[in-house]
């Protein structure tokens, strides 16, 4: 999540700053961009809550790991921490089964599903920042990756004269 943005995205930001544009960046990890030391510095907008606090994000973790983990813990508790053969075998089977189940549920179903709705969630997380820009004249909106498209579309709706594009070329 705190990965450095691609070279092309950074190059575009640098060029816009150098051309004297007032640049507003909508990012999840602001410190990465601050470290880039763009001049003049752009206005950086980030959500008030980090993404991993979003209910949808937490729900997928809950369903994949915490609930199955709780079941596993219940089994361990029911056996009373006994290490004799039949009980120990049951505990280790339940624990490893739960881990496999959790990984499969998360990797095959919940995370892919979350990836699909993520652009919509991110657009919602940035809603206050988007509204705050209503009075600011915007000429160009660039969605630098797929996850930013929904947010860019919402900005475009509020700024009908701005160019809204996924192209990183000026």
């Amino acid at each position: 999540m705190k990965a450095r943005p691609s070279e092309r995205v950074v190059a575009l930001a640098r060029r816009l700053c150098a051309d004297g544009a007032e640049l507003h960046l909508f990012v999840l990890a602001s410190d990465v961009w601050r470290d880039l030391d763009l001049s003049p510095p752009p206005r950086i907008h980030h959500p008030r809550r980090p993404e991993d606090r979003h209910p949808a994000y937490r729900l997928q973790r809950l369903l994949a790991f915490r609930l199955p983990g709780a079941v596993s813990a219940l089994v361990r508790a029911a056996t009373g921490g006994r290490s004799d053969r039949p009980a120990g075998r049951v505990v280790s089977a339940v624990t490893s089964g739960q881990q496999r189940f959790s990984e499969l549920l998360y990797g095959r179903i919940l995370h892919p599903a979350y990836r699909m709705v993520r652009p919509l969630l991110l657009a919602g997380m940035f809603r206050p920042e988007v509204r705050a820009l209503d009075q600011c004249p915007i000429n160009r909106i660039v969605a630098c990756d797929l996850d930013a498209v929904t947010l860019a579309a919402r900005l475009a709706r509020r700024h009908p004269t701005a160019v809204a594009t996924t192209s990183l070329d000026l």
């Binding site: 652009p119 498209v149 475009a156």
Partner: protein
């Protein structure tokens, strides 16, 4: 008794006027030739929006050179792959961009080409037209190869035979001379499927036919070569127009990234060091690249300044800009020597060489040795071939071509034009027309009637 109706062909040619893609002249000539030979021709071509907004390459003057009896339909093409304007995205794509991209990629796994939506819509339209009045045969030209897949699917649904015209290669990288895809790529399955059911497969040179015949031996007896040619209707008599005493070398055509551009510039610089060519000029007529964005790179490679109004690094080099195909005769008339700059080698013929020969002017080769174009240049009396990409040797060929141009020997020029006569479009397209006619005849006789249905 009802008169026998003309044979009806459906020609699937994505690139068709007003496109100015390199293969469009073959398609234009084929459609015009068929209609001149009495065929009822329907062409399915690219939608204008794609040509104007995505490819950015249209030449409206070319539309006027299409026989008005040809019916042109333009099936829909999804521009998902090329659309950058978020306001033009569908509501679904704006809301769920990741899912939209996944679904698009899934479609690519069925047919691995961004033009597949055009092919699918082409089949739908073809079925509707066929229901009203039957097509006798389908001719499909690639690229894009969605045209081949559409012809195959239409054949499976209706039984109408089809011929595929490999204007370009599908699974062979012409310039690297190796397979274009890894062995497990679906393009191979599709090519096998398409060739397996095709009534004939056409290639632009013997090298390409041989490469495919080796890979698909079961189909080899249905493969034929129909070379490119030159179009007499686009090339009026181009007698020399003496402009200045200095010799003018010209390259006429689109400059592309695959061509040895720097070698040509360097060879010309060396040639200009010779007193006889000291004041010679090299004029480049044509687009720089096929798409937007390519121009800047090619300007730099040619040693031209990024600012089009600034002079070239080599004072003898002049970039004259694009020339409409319908005005190309003037560019030839102003030229003393033509420079045949071409990328690739064994499998590349290049369409412009036929036009070059038709002008009867000296031609200097700037390409890798062993190029397929040598098949047609062999015997052309004004060909100066260094048989190398060494700039020194090319420069010597340029000097030899300069001498031939100054000599202006009318007999040599006449012999050169006679050589080119064998490559007029009508001449080279005759075997293709005959193949299509045979297929129609065979189909009508097996159906037991030649009357329209």
């Amino acid at each position: 008794m009802r008169p026998r109706r003309p044979p009806r062909v459906l020609y699937l040619s994505f690139y068709f006027p007003p496109s100015r893609a390199s293969g469009v002249y073959r398609a234009r000539a084929t459609a015009n030739h068929l209609v001149a030979r009495g065929w009822d021709v329907t062409v399915f071509a690219a939608p204008p929006r794609f040509l104007q907004e995505v490819a950015g390459s249209a030449d409206d003057a070319l539309l006027d050179t299409v026989d008005p009896r040809i019916r042109v339909e333009r099936p829909r093409l999804s521009t998902f792959r090329w659309e950058r304007d978020i306001r033009r995205f569908s509501r679904f794509r704006r809301t769920m961009p990741v899912l939209a991209a996944r679904l698009y990629d899934a479609g690519q796994r069925i047919f691995p080409e961004h033009y597949s939506s055009w092919g699918l819509d082409a089949v739908g339209r073809a079925l509707r037209l066929h229901a009203r009045r039957r097509f006798d045969v389908v001719l499909a030209t690639g690229n894009p190869f969605s045209a081949f897949a559409a012809a195959w699917l239409f054949h499976r649904l209706t039984g109408v035979p089809y011929v595929v015209d490999y204007r370009d290669s599908w699974t062979l990288d012409l310039f690297a001379e190796r397979p274009a895809y890894p062995p497990d790529h679906p393009a191979w399955t599709w090519e096998r499927r398409v060739l397996g059911d095709a009534a004939a497969a056409v290639f632009v040179n013997e090298a390409l036919r041989g490469w495919h015949a080796e890979r698909y031996p079961d189909v080899a007896d249905r493969m034929l070569v129909v070379p490119n040619g030159w179009d007499p209707d686009l090339l009026t008599e181009a007698d020399p127009v003496p402009t200045t005493p200095a010799l003018r070398f010209s390259y006429v055509g689109t400059v592309t990234a695959a061509q040895p551009v720097e070698t040509m510039v360097e060879a010309f610089r060396i040639a200009r060091g010779h007193p006889e060519l000291a004041d010679a000029e090299l004029h480049i007529h044509g687009h720089l690249g096929f798409s937007r964005g390519a121009e800047g790179i090619l300007r730099r490679r040619l040693g031209l300044d990024a600012d089009p109004s600034a002079p070239a690094v080599d004072p003898g080099l002049r970039y004259r800009g694009p020339v409409a195909k319908t005005d190309v005769s003037r560019a030839y008339a102003e030229s003393d020597v033509l420079v045949f700059l071409a990328g690739g080698a064994r499998y590349v013929t290049s369409g412009k060489i036929f036009e070059y020969m038709a002008t009867g002017r000296p031609i200097v080769s700037v390409h890798a040795p062993g190029i397929a174009a040598a098949e047609v240049l062999r015997g052309y009396p004004l060909w100066c071939n260094p048989d190398s990409l060494d700039p020194e040797r090319i420069a010597r060929s340029m000097m030899a071509a300069g001498k031939l141009a100054r000599a202006r020997d009318p007999e040599l020029r006449a012999a050169a034009r006679r050589h080119a006569e064998a490559y007029t479009r009508h001449t080279v397209l005759e075997p293709l027309e005959a193949t299509l006619r045979t297929l129609v005849g065979r189909r009508r006789s097996t159906r037991g009637a030649g009357a329209p249905r």
